[in-house]
């Protein structure tokens, strides 16, 4: 009887702990979703992060052919464009010599010499009917869109993998196919596991010292990618090595029997058959970079623009979510960015699950 109650108590505790862990997951997901979902729309996904205020010159105006609505911006009431008719002269806008077509969401700050602060829609319409010829508008295109951040995240993923993947693959091949037991192999194993235990912030410090200042690359996409390529080494190496080891010995023997050399066997037999395991390593790396912030904030910087070259600063989504939370305390915006990163991570995790499920090598286990 006593044993039975003891069983019940322990089972209760174990169940409680499991439920607790899963409810923490739902709590954090729910919090991020509720706080951030309101901000997510097309402008959020496709717009620039930094607000931009410019003067736009229009030619051959005969009324603007736009609809507007009042909006509060920067604590003042302005007019926001809610729709643009096709053929409207605002689509031919020029700013600083470059084409700058106005679009839905842009805020009119000034029409010729008339300030739009406090202007009603009716006042705008009567003003609009008098506009003709060449006019100049002052327009603010609001920020808080994450498009450049997404592009930067993808570029840094590509660049880091470009550096880390070949090294990791060669290393994995050496470890699985050539290396002999010994002190050097022990050291490689130790440093690989040590590398996976080093906190991101230490990688950040190293990247800053080695790439940003010593190699004089500055806060740039390249510094960030070089730093991350080191961060990725342990995951990529161990995943690829495992994948190479799982290719059955008979495949190698068959290849050798056909007269292939060791290298031909590696590139034509082993690597193609280890591909799914290598892809899993790549996907895990993508997840790691999407989540990374400490190593990037000290190396790639926090500029929320798409850089022209890899030598310019480029903030990723997660880095910007940090600066937003830290500097402005805007939880909603940080959560909206969080939703996008979490969706990316769910996609990556599911892809890993699917690949593992259909991995043809698993039947040789």
């Amino acid at each position: 009887m006593k044993a039975k109650t003891q069983d019940k108590v322990f089972k209760g505790i174990m169940l409680f702990c499991t439920v607790l862990v899963l409810s923490l997951l739902f709590l954090i997901l729910g919090f991020v979703l509720i706080k951030g979902i309101g901000l997510i729309d097309m402008h959020f996904l496709t717009g620039d992060f930094d607000a931009k205020t410019v003067y736009v010159d229009l030619q051959n105006v005969d009324g603007l052919n736009i609809e507007v609505a009042p909006i509060e911006y920067d604590t003042k009431d302005y007019l926001k464009i809610t729709s643009v008719e096709s053929g409207s002269s605002v689509l031919t806008g020029i700013s600083n010599g470059e084409s700058f077509p106005l679009k839905k969401g842009d805020i009119l700050r000034r029409i010729e010499d008339k300030n739009t602060v406090g202007m009603t829609v009716d006042e705008f319409n009567s003003l609009d009917s008098q506009l003709s010829g060449s006019i100049r508008l002052k327009v603010t295109r609001p920020g808080e869109g994450i498009f450049p951040l997404i592009i930067n995240t993808l570029s840094i993923i590509g660049l880091s993998l470009l550096i880390a993947l070949p090294v990791s693959l060669f290393s994995a091949i050496y470890l699985a196919e050539y290396a002999k037991k010994g002190k050097l192999l022990d050291l490689i194993r130790f440093t690989t596991s040590a590398l996976s235990g080093i906190p991101s912030i230490v990688f950040g410090l190293f990247g800053m010292l080695a790439f940003v200042t010593t190699l004089k690359l500055g806060f740039s996409m390249l510094s960030g990618a070089l730093t991350l390529s080191i961060v990725l080494l342990p995951t990529l190496i161990s995943q690829s090595e495992e994948a190479v080891r799982r290719v059955p010995l008979t495949f190698r023997e068959g290849s050798f029997a056909l007269g292939a050399t060791k290298l031909q066997t590696i590139f034509k037999v082993i690597l193609p058959n280890a591909l799914s395991g290598i892809v899993v390593g790549v996907l895990l790396s993508v997840g790691r970079i999407v989540a990374e912030s400490a190593a990037l904030v000290l190396t790639a910087g926090t500029v929320a623009l798409i850089p022209n070259t890899v030598f310019e600063s480029a903030s990723t989504l997660t880095v910007k979510a940090y600066t937003v939370a830290k500097e402005t305390g805007d939880i909603a915006l940080a959560c909206a960015m969080g939703i996008v990163t979490i969706v990316l991570i769910i996609v990556v995790n599911s892809a890993v699950g699917i690949i593992r499920k259909f991995d043809k090598m698993s039947k040789f286990k």
Partner: protein, 310 residues
């Protein structure tokens, strides 16, 4: 005839011989990249981190004793006014990590035990996907969650004017280290030989009793590996804790509601604009952090080596 085959084989060999050793050399060089990386990381950070304590340093010299035992961090361009003490940060980091381990270890062991031994396949699959996701959530998001949810909740019950505190850091770190510890504990539990279970059942023990008294103790080394990895993650976590720790400029915390300034937060907060001696002191902070990590790794590799013997 025989000569023909030999020649053919030779020809084939010669065709590949030219580049094969070269490619193998590339493989070999790639394989030592992790050694090179770890070597450079340790060398770069520590060599920069010891600069402020050398009398020959051109940015000025600061006493190592004052650095390691100081209770105040007040950077100043005037070296005589600057205070670079990190003892209170070390204590804060250790309190936060210790707290997270005390909370997290029992939860993760029980959850792993349940998932591995008692749960049915369906529950197990869903729970595992959930834990994978929990592990993949960026640390910044944990920080934002802490700042937007946990900090306001703590503020309601705290005697202090702000919610940023040791307690907030402990709660968020616990959440962050749970997935790692559960996954590793679960693997350790699953790899306990079934003979243990069968022997226990044969003696009349129930499934729950077996799990608690036989399986979990038998998996203790594997569980310990998970705990140590958890310690490493907790002490090295930067972006989540910097948002919720309060980051005070001095003082050892005496209660859970007091703010702290973990070592990692110190680096993140000031590294982007620090110059001269101040920047070097941040690298010194990073070096101390790295010494902790190196220590953790040495313990870890010793345990794993010993595990191999069984």
């Amino acid at each position: 005839m025989l000569a023909y085959f030999c020649n053919f084989k030779d020809l084939n060999m010669r065709k590949t011989k030219k580049y094969e050793p070269l490619v193998e050399l590339i493989f070999r060089i790639s394989s030592v990249m992790t050694i090179v990386a770890v070597g450079f990381i340790v060398l770069f950070i520590i060599s920069k981190g010891v600069q402020p304590f050398l009398s020959s340093n051109k940015e000025g010299t600061y006493s190592f004793v004052k650095f390691i035992s100081g209770l105040e961090w007040r950077p100043n361009d005037d070296i005589n006014k600057a205070q670079y003490g990190i003892l209170y940060m070390i204590v804060g980091s250790l309190f936060a990590t210790g707290g997270a381990i005390i909370l997290g270890v029992p939860i993760s062991i029980f959850a792993a035990g349940y998932l591995s031994e008692l749960a049915n396949e369906k529950v197990k699959k869903i729970a595992k996907a959930g834990i994978m996701l929990l592990a993949g959530i960026p640390s910044v998001i944990y920080g934002v969650f802490g700042l937007g949810f946990i900090v306001p909740k703590i503020k309601e019950i705290s005697p202090m004017p702000q919610g940023q505190s040791l307690l907030a850091v402990i709660i968020v770190l616990t959440m962050m280290i749970l997935p790692t510890m559960i996954v590793i504990a679960e693997n350790a539990i699953a790899s306990v030989p079934s003979a243990y279970r069968n022997a226990s059942y044969a003696l009349g023990a129930s499934k729950v009793y077996t799990t608690i008294h036989v399986i979990i103790p038998a998996a203790r080394r594997g569980i310990l590996v998970g705990v140590i990895l958890g310690v490493g993650r907790a002490i090295g976590e930067a972006m989540a804790v910097v948002l919720i720790a309060g980051n005070v400029s001095g003082g050892i915390p005496t209660s859970l509601f007091e703010p702290i300034r973990p070592l990692t937060a110190n680096v993140v907060l000031e590294m982007s604009y620090a110059t001269g001696l101040h920047s070097e002191m941040l690298f010194a902070t990073g070096s101390i952090l790295m010494l902790f990590i190196i220590g953790i790794n040495l313990v870890l590799s010793r345990i794993i080596k010993r595990m191999g013997k069984y």
